[in-house]
């Protein structure tokens, strides 16, 4: 679920975040339990219709699936060899449909609304010492960390190239880890300054 909110006023955008998350969980579980290509096909049609209902362009759907391409390419021959075309349709189809479905939820739901749901779901664990606000914050920071780490990696790669050390893993890993830890320190300080710890 790394898709960012895509603003809109459709029925899917207006639907409560909790309902969307429950439907996603039910549909994903059903696909995994049923292991049936027809179920996958029905799931694909529903997700496709969901993108249409939310008026999300096909390019947005493709952008959600693009990160899967190498994984899918590796998975297809392996599954074919193990169980034939039916297994390929079930395993790869389930993967693609569930990722597209999860992206549909995040594309039509503001992260703050998702955090509110996560907090409510986790709140019974308060009795065993879990802080629901911390769990929700962790989710938000995880989503935020993706572009930050990608930008850091780009910078470090450029710096490595500028020094003529393209082949040195140490010249990539050491500054990447140091800069990531430094970013985490500064982020922690900023969160305290914003009263998150109060």
């Amino acid at each position: 679920m790394t898709g960012l909110y895509f603003p809109g006023t459709s029925a899917l955008h207006r639907a409560p975040a909790g309902v969307k998350l429950v439907l996603l969980a039910v549909a994903t579980t059903a696909l995994v339990v049923l292991r049936d290509p027809w179920a996958v096909a029905v799931g694909a049609v529903i997700v496709w219709a969901g993108y249409g209902l939310a008026r999300l362009p096909a390019s947005v759907l493709l952008a959600q699936l693009r990160p899967l391409r190498w994984f899918v390419l590796a998975l297809v021959p392996l599954q074919w060899w193990q169980g034939g075309l039916r297994v390929v349709a079930v395993v790869v189809g389930t993967l693609v449909v569930t990722v597209a479905g999860a992206a549909l939820v995040t594309l039509t739901t503001r992260v703050l609304d998702l955090l509110d749901v996560v907090e409510r779901v986790v709140s019974p664990l308060r009795h065993v010492g879990v802080r629901p606000d911390r769990v929700a914050l962790l989710l938000a920071l995880t989503l935020r960390a993706v572009p930050v780490l990608a930008a850091t990696l780009d910078d470090v790669r450029d710096a490595r190239r500028a020094r003529g050390l393209e082949r040195s893993p140490r010249a990539l890993l050491v500054p990447l880890v140091v800069r990531t830890l430094r970013h985490a320190d500064r982020l922690g300080e900023a969160l305290v300054a914003r009263g998150v710890d109060d």
Binding site: P147, R194, G195
Partner: protein, 229 residues
């Protein structure tokens, strides 16, 4: 009003601020000094991010050590690097995040977020990923996310250091128009000109305290006078 009483701060054995006594009640206070002089630590003391090793810091009577949460509600803090302050994936969500614990209805929260986005010229970027903003826009977002909670004091630690001239001027003019008390730590000496009071920090002490022209002169003399050939 901010009051520092005989404040000393150490990181381990290293003393970074020594015996600082200050009362800050002017609307515009700037702090200048060389790298490592202690000015950022001084700024962090004002919001309770750093607690004094000795002495105490009071903001409107609240001690940063005993009543940190109340102090942070009164004192907003803007850092040098806006990337480290942005928590949420999109612009409007990051501003709304500041209001999560304010006990506001969703409508009121959205209204306040929309107002602050408009005020900072970010309305067109409301649903954009925050990491795609320019450096200047990110700093505006960081400012907006702090000011939406309506603190009575804003402390800015070198907010223009990573910005180009145009964005630095934009942030500076926004700061100038704020109704809040502003404490600005900066290396950009031209930014302190409209400030009422400028503190020069060196070696963990406030070595000059006065109007901008005098303070900048004292700082130049301190830095250039001690420069070895």
């Amino acid at each position: 009003m901010i009051r520092l009483e005989r404040v000393t701060h150490r990181y381990g054995e290293r003393v970074v601020l020594r015996d600082v006594d200050l009362v800050l009640d002017e609307r515009r206070v700037a702090v200048i000094g060389a790298n490592g002089s202690g000015k950022s630590t001084l700024a962090r003391l004002l919001n309770g991010l750093v607690l004094p090793s000795e002495g105490r810091v009071l903001v409107d009577g609240h001690d940063t050590r005993r009543d940190g949460a109340a102090v942070r509600r009164l004192v907003g803090f803007v850092f040098t690097d806006p990337d480290a302050q942005i928590v949420m994936p999109t612009v409007s969500e990051d501003i709304a995040f500041s209001l999560r614990r304010a006990g506001l209805s969703r409508e009121e929260r959205d209204r306040r977020v929309a107002a602050v986005l408009d005020r900072f010229g970010l309305a067109d970027h409301a649903d954009q990923p925050a990491h795609l903003l320019s450096g200047g826009q990110k700093q505006l977002l960081a400012l907006a996310a702090v000011l939406v909670t309506e603190p009575s004091v804003l402390v800015c630690d070198e907010p223009t250091t990573l910005l180009d001239l145009r964005n630095a001027a934009l942030v500076s003019s926004l700061l100038a128009g704020l109704p809040q008390q502003v404490v600005l730590v900066t290396h950009h000496l031209d930014l302190v000109e409209p400030y009422e009071r400028v503190l020069v920090v060196d070696g963990g002490r406030v070595v000059h305290d006065g109007p901008p022209r005098e303070a900048v002169g004292a700082y130049r003399a301190l830095v250039l006078g001690s420069r070895t050939p």
